[in-house]
Symmetry: C2
Subunit: 191 residues, 2 copies
DNA sequence: TGCCCGCGCCTAAATCTTTTAGGCAAGAGG
DNA sequence: CCTCTTGCCTAAAAGATTTAGGCGCGGGCA
């Protein structure tokens, strides 16, 4: 028999992410992963604590990848240019890697979340907003609005929620970004 | 033994929804449901086709409940009043019934989705937008934007994504609705 | 070179969920 | 009063999760 396959936590996480993209994040199973490595299931338990641990690692991987892409996209851009670039990072990532994107939504316990790349995401959105000259607490409100729109749009679109309706989602997406840009430039005062 | 417990598809769906709120939608299992009815697992399979069928029914139930609440909330309201009311229906429902809300996001196959209360939701959002005098295709863009913000905000908030940051989410929520109202009143033309 | 020891993968086993097939009996309708 | 539907049962197979413990190969020791 092939003596040693060379399992590591990192390889398992990577393979898990690939598997997620292929079959969906919640179909990611320790058994299926073992099958792919042609290895007995129990062998994986030396590298990941359990199924939940595996999923957490995939989630953290996805968050890192997303943050890396976002950082690249924001480099050298400002204003609406940066807004569009960041928005497209999320949308494109979700399309290219649906399983990983779903993983990025995996509910992490607070300590894990605090140590994750999630904080980088928040920082980048804040950096983006510097171009719109919003003071606190409006900046935080805007960060949350942008997060909501990006996540909400992408997840509804990927869930097929916008299908079979008339204007294609491409056009809506660009008009939504126009609208957000306009909104950020003239952020309304508290009512 | 208790001869007949009185299982029906409806009671199972209801109990499944309650279970979802208690333990989370993806912890809803045929076995757990059987346990709650103090009945053997196989007995449930005369009432629901399988696990996926059960979850679909819970999803449809949640969509109906949400649509009913939305219809109530919109009755007699217009403009920003209606906007805030509808937004709060989603947010409150998610807080009261997290499992059901998660169920409402369950990916339905196209035919099922078309026959679901999902279409009522779209119609109500359009009704709301009549107060803002948007013509097609802008109205559709706005429907999608509102759906994205509502869903995105609620799911991030429930996932703890907004926790431990300074301005409380209550304030952000009201400012986001202010912003959306302002945006809809001055919807920017195509760039 | 030879040995040994830890790590990587194994077997075994318990527990749980899903799903199908077939059976018995209680209660509704004639 | 009989029968037939149907509601819940037993039985069983298949797959997932997780733990406990074993054996051999390769790298580091002498």
């Amino acid at each position: 028999m092939a003596p040693r396959v060379g399992l590591t936590t990192e390889r398992l996480t990577q393979a898990g992410a690939t598997l997620a993209d292929e079959v969906g994040f919640d179909q990611v199973t320790v058994s299926e992963l073992a099958r792919r490595f042609d290895v007995k299931v129990a062998s994986l338990y030396s590298h990941v604590k359990n199924s939940h641990d595996l999923k957490t690692r995939i989630a953290l991987l996805a968050l890192e990848e997303l943050a890396d892409r976002a950082a690249d996209a924001l480099a050298g851009r400002a204003g609406k240019d940066a807004l569009v670039a960041l928005a497209n990072v999320y949308r494109d990532y979700a399309r290219e890697h649906p399983g990983r994107y779903a993983a990025a939504q995996f509910r992490l316990d607070p300590e894990t979340a605090a140590a994750s790349a999630g904080v980088r995401h928040a920082k980048m959105t804040r950096a983006l907003l510097r171009g719109y000259h919003l003071d606190e607490p409006d900046q935080t409100h805007a960060v949350r609005l942008l997060g909501s729109v990006f996540h909400g749009y992408v997840s509804i679109e990927m869930g097929g929620g916008f299908s079979h309706s008339a204007p294609d989602t491409e056009e809506t997406w660009s008009r939504v970004l126009d609208a957000l840009d306009a909104l950020l430039r003239t952020w309304p005062p508290a009512s």
